[in-house]
């Protein structure tokens, strides 16, 4: 009997804890968004965050996109040739990449790279009192540290995804042309005949949302980390895990909103 009650108490405590965390995150996100619009602005910090999130993620995102496009062409060939629909491969590749795989894979890669780095940096600043020091020097940490990263996330991710789209399609094209023996001209033409602007645009909207999520989870986990090096490590891990799960969940919601009209 007691054991059962104890078990229930544990579950209850865990649920309360989770709810508290969600509340904390909501407040953090709200404060962060308010900090974005309220002056002072820190263009220098935005520039730094853009480099960190965008520029330095370029190689890993490019390679991911390229290989994804290549494997996509190969896989769909296997399937589609079974019912003589090889001509659809070009469309399948370009639609999957722009609508889905570009934003999601880029989001996962960037959260592993830049989101983790953000959590580690802010976490270290927290446990070494640097965040406290900011506020004693007339600087609001949410505005100086968090807002620039949120802005940079929302700008950098669509740019990265635009590049990922191009490289993904190129990867598929190269495989179709050089390995599967497609006529390059026909392949390209059929790639673009079925592509609509909103396929690309909705992918880029997703990317901006994912960029916000990555920066938000990186900052949130870093900002509230405590307990030295171990705490910073835990913050880094949970920044990546939570951003990845949120990206996949929000991706479903956004797909529903953007594509089922």
């Amino acid at each position: 009997m007691n054991a059962i009650l104890n078990g229930i108490a544990h579950i209850g405590a865990a649920v309360l804890n989770a709810l508290g965390l969600v509340g904390e995150l909501a407040i953090f996100a709200g404060t962060g968004m308010f900090a974005i619009i309220r002056p002072p602005y820190y263009p220098r910090m935005i520039g730094r965050a853009l480099m960190e999130i965008g520029y330095f993620s370029l190689p890993v995102v490019s390679l991911t996109a390229l290989f994804t496009g290549m494997v996509l062409a190969l896989q769909s060939y296997t399937g589609f040739s079974r019912f003589n629909a090889e001509s659809a491969i070009a469309s399948v590749v370009i639609l999957s990449v722009t609508r889905e795989l570009g934003p999601v894979l880029a989001g996962l890669m960037v959260s592993g790279r830049a989101g983790a780095a953000m959590a580690a940096e802010l976490g270290t600043m927290r446990v070494t009192d640097q965040i406290d020091a900011l506020s004693t020097l007339s600087t609001e940490p949410m505005q100086y540290l968090v807002a620039p990263r949120l802005i940079a996330g929302m700008i950098a991710m669509p740019l990265l995804v635009a590049i990922a789209d191009i490289l993904g399609v190129m990867g598929g094209f190269l495989v179709a042309w050089l390995k599967l023996g497609f006529n390059p001209h026909t392949y390209l033409v059929s790639s673009f005949t079925h592509l609509r602007t909103d396929d690309v645009v909705s992918g880029l909207i997703k990317a901006a949302v994912f960029g916000f999520i990555i920066a938000l989870m990186g900052c949130f986990n870093g900002y509230r980390s405590k307990g030295g090096a171990q705490g910073v490590g835990a913050a880094t891990t949970s920044a990546v895990v939570s951003a990845s799960i949120l990206i996949l969940a929000v991706d479903y919601i956004l797909t529903q909103l953007l594509f089922t009209k």
Binding site: A133, L134, S135, L137
Partner: protein, 256 residues
């Protein structure tokens, strides 16, 4: 009698069930220096972080210039606290910025100087803490612990704040540099007419820096008096502490 620059009444802060501050009363008159002594973990850092607004106390009153910052509107509380310059116990230098930007950070944030003159100004302040201009472009991680402390001190005093907090300013410095820093603190506080609170474990330093002294023990201020009396008072707690005796009313918990 003039109103104290800083007045603390019945300040309480618990972490969970642990009573760190359990009714602290404190007065610091304008233009004077208070040194706070007390054992490791007695809550000295928590006390000044509460005044700074970095720790939210559970109850009590903290007045700066006669205004309770805990109940005042946010903007007013912030403006009052903006007069405080703080030297953190571990330095808390921004390791992503070079030394000179650390020192000039507050001045730039308050737009007191232009960016192009900031480096020269920072070098000037660095000279005051005995650092040559060749450290200005280094990163804080390239400095020794003692040098980091001096850079942190330079950052705290650069904007010439009306109130200065020093959390163990001389810990980790050699005795001569410690004395130099003490002198610098006294000099700076007196020159600017600032009010200061310094936390220290170093009795020589306490006597040099402080006008008055207070001992924090068991969550309360158990003794206050002129800093010069620290070494001569008959208060058994202070006597044991300042003379570093292991026998006495203060029992250090070595084992649980």
């Amino acid at each position: 009698m003039s109103i104290p620059k800083i007045r603390v009444r019945n300040l309480k802060k618990y972490f969970g069930t642990k009573k760190v501050l359990d009714g602290v009363d404190l007065d610091v008159a304008p233009g004077t220096s208070l040194v706070v002594i007390g054992g490791s973990g007695s809550g000295k850092s928590v006390l000044i972080k509460s005044i700074l607004g970095l720790v939210t106390p559970d109850s009590g009153v903290i007045e700066i210039d006669g205004v309770d910052v805990l109940s005042a509107p946010r903007a007013q509380a912030r403006a009052l606290r903006e007069q405080i310059g703080m030297l953190f116990q571990n330095g808390a230098l921004f390791d992503s910025l070079p030394v000179w930007e650390n020192v000039a950070f507050g001045l730039l944030a308050e737009k007191k100087i232009a960016r192009r003159s900031a480096r020269a100004k920072a070098i000037e302040v660095l000279a005051q803490v005995g650092l040559a201009d060749n450290v200005a472009d280094l990163s804080p991680s390239e400095l020794s612990g003692g040098m980091q402390k001096r850079v942190a001190l330079a950052r705290a005093i650069a904007s010439e704040p009306a109130i200065m907090f020093f959390d163990e300013p001389t810990t980790g410095l050699d005795p001569i540099m410690g004395a130099v820093i003490d002198e610098l603190i006294v000099d700076c506080v007196k020159r600017l007419g600032s009010t200061s609170i310094a936390i220290t474990h170093d009795m020589a330093s306490a006597v040099r820096i402080g006008d008055t002294a207070a001992m924090l023990y068991d969550g309360k201020i158990t003794w206050t008096g002129p800093a010069a009396e620290l070494l001569t008072t008959t208060n058994p707690l202070v006597d044991q502490f300042t003379h570093g005796r292991s026998e006495g009313p203060i029992k250090m918990a070595l084992r649980r």
